[in-house]
Every structure is written in structure tokens, then in C-alpha cells.
Amino acid sequence: MERFESLYNALKHLDGYIFPNEIALNWDLLIVMYPYITGLVAGAFILASLNRVFKIKALQPTYTLSLLTALSFMLVATMPLITHLGKPERFYEMLITPHLTSAMAIFGFVYLWYLMVVLLLEIWFDYRYDMVIWSHEKKGLMRFVYKALTLWVSDTSEKSRKTDDKLGYFITVVGIPSAFLLHGYVGFIFGSIKANPWWSTVMMPVIFLFSAMVSGIALVLFIYMVISYLRKQKTDILCLDTITKFLFYILIIDFTLESLDQIHRIYVADESFDILQILVRGKLFVTFFILQIGIGTLLPLGVLGYLQFKKPKEKVRKVIYFLISICVLVGIFFMRWNVVIGGQLFSKSFYGFTSYKVDLIGGRDVILSLTWFIVPFIILTFLLWLLPPWKKHHDSIIEN
């Protein structure tokens, strides 16, 4: 009885009729974290590529940081999924015997492609020259570590650096569609479930993609400001202005796409409309209207829009940017929440709802979710110590 306490509680709070197997919410907070973290990866990478491929020079201070952020989150991106499995020890079956008609099975390969071919290679080419220099400067174990990281390639000639740059550029170009693929695919995992009208929309991959960009850019903005503060360095205001300008533009696209999706739902008003309307106005009211749309979208849009015309003092702007980055990160988290949890709150009988309460203390899903959100920051700290972007030798040749 104790094991099922939360389910018996849910049973007491059912509204209307729900299929008996639907009382238990199978995809909990961990599955909210999964698209959230993957989105942060894709978004951070897109920000890096704005600098590298689209040659937006103002973003240079955050280029390497974006890549390292993307890598830190990428390394744990599958962990929420794996720890959520009923049989986590069997997860490798997905890679060795994938069922090719399953969107989830293919995700494993998209993930590996992105991690191995795109992120690791790009960072390697970006740091190779510096790692060679560091391996000369350091002594003992660190010398060996850096040597190992260079894969014992010690060429520092101008020609080799140009090759690094060319290959790095090429990988970034390949990386942009890959990042699109990565997060578009996560959207497809949900969008392709025809049984669930809240998920089943062709817009889902595109919406996921743009919300990913928004969240990734906000994350890098946040991390850049925190790190500069910790290092007692001045943040580059031109860089901040540029990042937030892009954040503003992409947020507009994201909001437009999501509105289009909702307007289409409302106007078409198919058989699922009644139940979804009650869902959004009732159980999702706070997370949808207030957190996702209000704090996460309209507030940042309003403030950033205002800042495109009126520029207050640098100090004020920095505080605003910092707060906006948090608002956007919170907003996108609740966007994922509304998709994943919202999609399971209503019955596929269209006659009722179940409820979901996060057990803030002692809930397995909460502890694991928090862990998978904190671990990337620890990895990032380690990476920043191992490969400090501020100690990189500036690429005078490349910039010429």
C-alpha cells in the first residue's frame, strides 16, 4: 500500500474519467529534463556557430565557452532517459539492436554522431594548438594529460594551425544541421505520437528547435556573466548586447511558431479540443500562462524589445540581461514541463484528468533530475580548469 501511496492519492484527485492504466504518470520529471538538457546543448552550439560560421565577431568572447557548455550538458544528456528506464541495465540494447521504426532508437545514433563527430572534434581542433603549448609549459602529470589530449600531435606550424581552423570550420558547418537534427529529433519523439493530441503536431520538432536555441543562448549568457563575475573580469558589453539581440530575434520566431500551433488548435478545434482547453485553463494554468508565456516569453520579449530602442546605462543593462537569462531558462523549462507532463495529465478517453505532484523531498525523480542538472555545471567547471578559454593563444593568423 505504501509503495502506491502517491497513486492512491492521485486516485482520490481524479477529475472525470481516466483509463485505469493512465493514473500512473509514466514519464515524470526526468523526461522533462531530457528535452530540456538536449535543448541547451543544441542552443549553445548554435550560438557558437553564429560566431564561427556567420562571422559575428562580437560573439567571440563566448565562442569557446558555448562549445564547452554544449559538451558539458551533452555528456549527461542521455542520463535522465537512462535513469528513468524500468531496466536501466538494458539501455545498451537500444544501440546494439535498435528497432529502426522507433524515433527513440534512432536518437541514440543522432546523439553519438553529435557528441563524437561534431562537439568533440570541433573542440579538439579549436584547442589542439593550445594544448600543445600547454603540454610544453606544464610539468609532470599535467604535461602527460595535455600530451594525451593532443593525441601526441605536436605540430605547431602555421600550416597545421590553418588546417585546424579549416577543419574546425567545416565541422561547425556540418554541426549546424546536426544540432538542428539533434533537437528536431527530440521534438519528433513527441510529435510522432498520434495517440496524444497534445503532442501530435508537425510543428513539434520546429518548436523544440527554436525553443532549444532560445534556452541555449540564455544559458551561455547566464554562464558567461557568472564566470566573469567569479573571475572578477568585466563582461564585454558589446558581446552581451549582441547575444541578447539574437535571443530577442529567436524568441520572436519561437513565440510565433508556438502561437501558430495554438491558434491552429483553437481554430480547427478537433475532437480533442474540449479536453485540451480544460487542461490548459486548469491544471496547466500556472505553468503555461504564467511561467512559460508570461515570465518565460512575454516579459523577456517586452524588455529586450524595449532595449533595442532605448539603451539604459551599461550596469543596468547587465542586470537586466542577467535576470532575463534566468526568466528564459525558467520559461523553457516549463515549456518542456507543459509538453511532457501536460501530455499525460489528460485521459486518452478525453473524459478526465489525473494529477501529478512532484515530491520535493525524497522524490526519486526530483533528486535524479536535480543531479542531472547540476552535474553539467561540475563538468563545465572541470573543463574550464583544464581548458581555460581565457588562456587560449589568440589566433592572430586565423583572424587575418
Partner: protein, 258 residues
């Protein structure tokens, strides 16, 4: 002589590589194409002599005793808590004002208490639910490892020794027929009592039904009881718009039922 022989060997080695490469490539190509069939095509066997199971439920005969749900829990080791069911019975009540009320206390096992005053009832009826054993089952389509599969008799089954418990199939089933087994950590669902069918026995739910409201049979056999039931009653399936190829046929199904 030596040179000639060597040349010949070289050629044949190259031939060997070319041929094995072509074969390997061909196998890879076909294996890439083959799984896609599941996306497009009904997997009904071409050989019409083989059995192709379907299920029929005569709604007018169902008295809502839920013996089927009880028997199923017993036969298939389904947890007794009211959150896990391979089959259950719903009671629909439509009032004179057109309100729709649906209940299924503990899947019907706990009995039904009609709260709508009799004078206000427009109509009321029971709807037994179970796996539809769809021909184009969305649940087996999404399984990332292929642990959920369709048997050649047209039954959607799960290899529990292989299932990773991701719950994707639970989300994909439009009928709410799957659940994650709380002790096993893997998915569980109706198998139409496959273990009994193989021994020539009827599924537990069908065997215990006191009014004979449930039936199963071979859809290829046009003389079977099920085929006749479908023909005579203008049967329908649940959520036909989703094109799942559901093979659970109801007669006299009200449009309110989803």
C-alpha cells in the same frame, strides 16, 4: 609461371572482395529498407491460411460483472492494485441533458454505483476494454529495441526479458492498454492469453464471461463465429481515425465511447 599464378590470385582476391562487398552492401541496404515496411504497410500475413486473430465484444450482452477483469488479473499475475489492468469494464451513462458520465471503479471489479437518478438516464451501457491487437499497432512501431512485436497470428506481444521499460509504447497506445509492471520494471499488456491459446484453451476473460459477450477468432476464416459477428452487426472499432488497424470489434457502440 609464378608471376602468372600471383596475378590470377590477385584478381580472384579482388573478385572475392568485390563480391563480398556487394553482398554485404546488399544485405545492409535490404535490412535498412525492411523495417520501414512497418511504417507503411499492414502486416497481415500474405498466407490467408494462417490464423489472424481478432476479438469481438457484444456490448448488448455485457452485464458489467467484470468477471473478465478479475479472471485476467488472476490468470496473468497482474498486480491487484487499481492502477494496472490488462482488461477492464467501463460504465457509460448518458443523461437526458446529454452529459456523459463514465466510471470504472477498480476496473469494474468493485462494482458500479449508479449516481444518476433513473429518471434522468437517457441511456447506460457497459464497454469492456482490452488490447485491440492492432494490425498497424503504434505501440510496437515505437519500441526502441523491438521488445514489443506483432506475432504472426496478429497479436501484439512483449518480450519482457528484453523490454527496457522506457514506457514509450505506453504513451503510443491510444487505448490505454499498457502499463509498467511495478515489480518487473517492464511493460505488461494483454496477450489474448497466448499461453492458453497455444494449448488450445480460450483466453481467461472469454472463458469466464457468463453471457458470452466476448469472443475471439480467426479473421481469415469467413465462417468463424467472429467473422459472422462482424458481418451481421456492422461492427466498429475504437478511434478508427487513428488508423491503427484495431482488431477489437464492438457491435452497437455508442459514438460517445473513445
Amino acid at each position: 609461371m609464378g608471376i602468372k599464378k600471383e596475378k590470377k590470385e590477385n584478381v580472384s582476391r579482388r573478385d572475392f572482395f568485390l563480391k563480398s562487398g556487394a553482398i554485404a552492401g546488399g544485405v545492409v541496404f535490404v535490412s535498412l529498407l525492411d523495417p520501414l515496411k512497418a511504417v507503411f504497410a499492414v502486416k497481415e500475413p500474405k498466407d490467408k491460411r494462417k490464423k489472424w486473430y481478432g476479438i469481438g465484444i457484444d456490448i448488448e450482452k455485457c452485464i458489467g460483472c467484470a468477471s473478465c477483469a478479475r479472471a485476467c488479473k488472476k490468470e496473468n499475475d497482474v498486480p491487484k492494485e487499481p492502477f494496472f489492468f490488462r482488461n477492464w469494464v467501463e460504465q457509460y451513462t448518458i443523461t437526458n441533458e446529454g452529459d456523459i458520465k463514465v466510471i470504472s471503479p477498480n476496473g469494474g471489479i468493485d462494482g458500479y454505483k449508479q449516481t444518476v437518478p433513473e429518471a434522468n438516464i437517457y441511456k447506460t451501457f457497459f464497454v469492456p476494454k482490452m488490447c485491440n491487437h492492432c494490425a498497424k499497432s503504434p505501440c510496437t512501431q515505437v519500441c526502441p529495441v523491438g521488445a514489443s512485436f506483432e506475432s504472426e497470428e496478429g497479436l501484439a506481444l512483449v518480450d519482457q526479458s528484453y523490454c527496457i521499460g522506457c514506457g514509450y509504447c505506453v504513451q503510443a497506445c491510444p487505448y490505454g492498454c499498457r502499463y509498467i509492471h511495478p515489480d518487473k520494471g517492464v511493460v505488461d499488456k494483454c496477450t489474448l492469453c497466448y499461453h492458453r491459446l497455444k494449448k488450445g484453451l480460450d483466453p481467461a476473460c472469454m472463458m469466464v464471461c457468463p453471457t458470452g459477450a466476448r469472443m475471439y477468432g480467426d479473421l481469415h476464416d469467413k465462417d468463424s463465429k467472429l467473422s459472422k459477428f462482424i458481418k451481421d452487426n456492422n461492427c466498429v472499432v475504437l478511434k478508427p481515425q487513428l488508423n491503427t488497424g484495431a482488431k477489437l470489434y464492438y457491435n452497437a457502440l455508442s459514438q460517445e465511447v473513445h
